[in-house]
């Protein structure tokens, strides 16, 4: 049988090793470095979401830098073993909301949304019903038109579409990141995708 922990090294628990403080500092430095490594390893994925949430590359870079500055300062509040990508994105979306408030963009009114087949129907009438069988029909939509259409969706719908459809977050992750119920994630996602298709139809098919 093993001796109780405090006695294993021949001294009581209450009397710390002289080296304990140094060890604690070294351990903390190591944990912190690991945290930073892991966070930096996710930077490309964090940027990918940031870039589609804001209007320009410069704004996205600023937002990602602000996010990492805050994350590195508050690394202790991250619980090891939980989803760090979601944790970083939560910081980022909060900063983005604050930023949105500062900029005070006038909210654009969303036109009545069409249904889910709207874009396909428009494409079919432009290119022929059978064209929908071929993937080339979507390639009629330029990269610019996709990016513009995304940027024109209302922010609260855009952030859900970007997180789920571009960032590959689950509904549950998106709910946690945005601090909203899963049901709200789903309804915003559905509306956001329909709005995107409507914008694409307006932009790309004339």
């Amino acid at each position: 049988m093993q001796a109780p922990v405090g006695q294993r090294y021949g001294r009581p628990v209450s009397e710390p090793e002289p080296a304990t403080e140094a060890l604690r500092i070294a351990t903390e430095a190591r944990d912190r470095a690991r945290f930073e490594e892991e966070a930096l390893g996710l930077a490309d994925q964090v940027y990918r979401v940031a870039r589609r949430l804001v209007g320009s590359r410069e704004e996205a870079e600023d937002l990602v830098q602000e996010t990492y500055a805050r994350a590195f300062r508050s690394w202790r509040s991250y619980s090891q073993g939980t989803n760090m990508r979601a944790w970083l994105l939560r910081i980022l979306t909060n900063l983005n909301v604050d930023r949105g408030r500062r900029i005070q963009r006038t909210p654009q009114m969303q036109a009545l949304e069409e249904t889910d087949y709207y874009l396909a129907n428009k494409m079919a009438s432009a290119a022929g019903e059978a064209a929908l069988d071929q993937d080339v029909v979507v390639e009629r939509l330029s990269q610019d038109s996709v990016v513009n259409a995304l940027s024109e969706i209302q922010p609260q719908f855009r952030e859900v579409v970007v997180l789920v459809d571009i960032g590959d977050f689950t509904y549950a992750d998106a709910a946690q990141i945005l601090d909203i119920p899963i049901g709200t994630v789903m309804s915003r996602l559905h509306r956001g995708r329909r709005a995107l298709k409507q914008k694409l139809a307006e932009e790309a098919i004339t």
Binding site: D44, R51, R52, R73, D116, M123, L141, I166
Partner: protein, 79 residues
């Protein structure tokens, strides 16, 4: 199923592709799709569109950004 079956199928589209339909709804969609070219084409279109949006909307991180993030390492909570 009452009403327009294609309209009903359209309602199920997003959840079908997200795999969040109940078994019963799943069967309902599958049964309809098996006999309806119109809806099948639109499901196919949606699936392709989602992939396309994702690939076109993803932008790689600009080259200089990683170095800027590296510089932030070790930031003090009080700073």
């Amino acid at each position: 199923m009452s009403g327009d079956p294609c309209a009903r199928c359209e309602e199920l589209l997003q959840d079908f592709l997200d795999r969040t339909l109940t078994n019963e709804e799943w069967r309902e969609a599958e049964d309809h799709l098996a006999g309806c070219d119109y809806c099948r084409r639109r499901y196919h279109f949606e699936e392709t569109l989602r992939r396309y949006v994702k690939t076109t909307a993803v932008e790689r991180m600009p080259p200089g950004l990683m170095a800027k993030l590296e510089e932030l390492r070790g930031l003090d909570a009080t700073a």
